[in-house]
Symmetry: C2
Subunit: 241 residues, 2 copies
């Protein structure tokens, strides 16, 4: 009998912000799998350190790119597609051998998570379960002590990779906003926030809920480029209660 395929959200970084369910699955499965960038230990892997079975088999899935390739580049689609196919085949081998496999995902698996591409390829063939996790952004606004939306507020989640014009228009049009994928997009994001008139509300969060956490008003952040694990929060809630 084939094993069960678990897609497990691990939350924003603090291992204590893993769910009870995730912790139980991570401690029980004979195989864990995780994505990592070449030369890095893997963020999701780090979260479960010391929480797996002593004899656990680890399947490390190295992204084929070490630097960012544009999502719109046709080569990106081909290469990354082949990588997900190969990764799914790797996990299928273990599942076919009757072993349960947990695919580790930082944050929430179905919210900008690469794990969805393996879920796509495997869920039709195996017993499976998706365990949601706390999104990185929830960890960040809790750490910042900043409620993000209330009442009739609209929340917009924006990838910092969008062009300046799109960012500006969307920021003008929302109550609360979260900008992900900040990194080298920060100068453009900063301009868009100013043009939309919300720069004074913007909060910069780096490594939210993790060691080295840093939270400052964006106006007081002057480093460049921002690291990958950074995010900008624009709290809504302009109508107090």
């Amino acid at each position: 009998m084939a094993g069960t395929f678990f897609t497990v959200g691990l939350g924003p970084g603090d291992p204590d912000l893993m769910t009870v369910k995730a912790a139980r699955i991570i401690g029980a499965v004979p195989v864990i799998a995780y994505f990592a960038k070449r030369g890095h230990s893997g963020h999701a892997r780090g979260i479960v350190q010391g929480r797996t079975r002593a004899d656990v088999e680890e399947v490390r899935l190295d992204y084929p790119f070490t630097t960012e390739v544009s999502l719109n580049d046709p080569e990106y689609a081909v290469t990354i597609g082949a990588f997900y196919e190969m990764s799914a085949a790797c996990l299928a081998t273990r599942l076919d051998a009757g072993k349960d496999v947990a695919l580790l995902c930082e944050g929430d698996p179905f919210f900008y998570g690469s794990s969805m591409y393996l879920y796509d390829r495997l869920h039709g063939s195996y017993t499976h379960e998706v365990v949601p996790g706390i999104c990185g952004m929830s960890g960040c606004w809790a750490a910042a002590g900043t409620p993000i939306v209330h009442g009739d507020d609209v929340l917009t989640v924006l990838p910092g990779t969008l062009d300046e014009e799109s960012l500006t228009t969307r920021l003008r049009d929302c109550d609360g906003a979260v900008i992900m994928k900040v990194g080298r997009n920060l100068p453009k994001i900063r301009t868009a926030l100013a043009r939309a008139g919300v720069a004074d509300r913007a909060i910069y969060v780096e490594r939210g809920t993790m060691p080295g956490q840093r939270i400052v008003p964006l106006a007081e952040f002057h480093d460049a480029p921002a690291p990958y694990f950074s995010m900008i929060l624009v709290p809504g809630r302009q109508r107090p209660r």
Copy 2:
């Protein structure tokens, strides 16, 4: 010495989707507090059933309204403001007596949660901690097996209380969307989804991750009105990978 004020997110409903940290705090504090509607047992309270200290003191905070009053009605603001003042005072009494207090919150406390109004009133005066929780929407898209956004997708979270025109415009303009507070707003939401051309992607989720969970394409849902614990998901991800 005064107690610590914990604002604790409990996640979407399944008690196993509480974080390890939340479970530990809930099992340790001498006082829990929670909001509830008159005549109902309290959703947040239900999630922690059997997980608190045997001698825990429960502070139930009954909302002053049993039926919905418009958020824009001036009477609403006055009455609800007084209610939050009184609730904060109730918790302050316990904190001043040196007792740690956990305010229970379904979902994530800073994402449309009433707990933020007590956080506003108490966090300046007491040692405090906010524990994020899995948002209801994460629980719903995991339960539905539907990744919501990837890559450069924009996610928009919309309260179903918005007018039809606003809903339509915003739905036209996003990749993925979540519509909260469905209830009696369903007919209007349905029209907006159709006008925006996304009705065929819409998924109706009722009591996500809880007993009685129901997940169907919106086109196949014909009951009215929808219950309070319902949500509509419009998956983004129109560019496959």
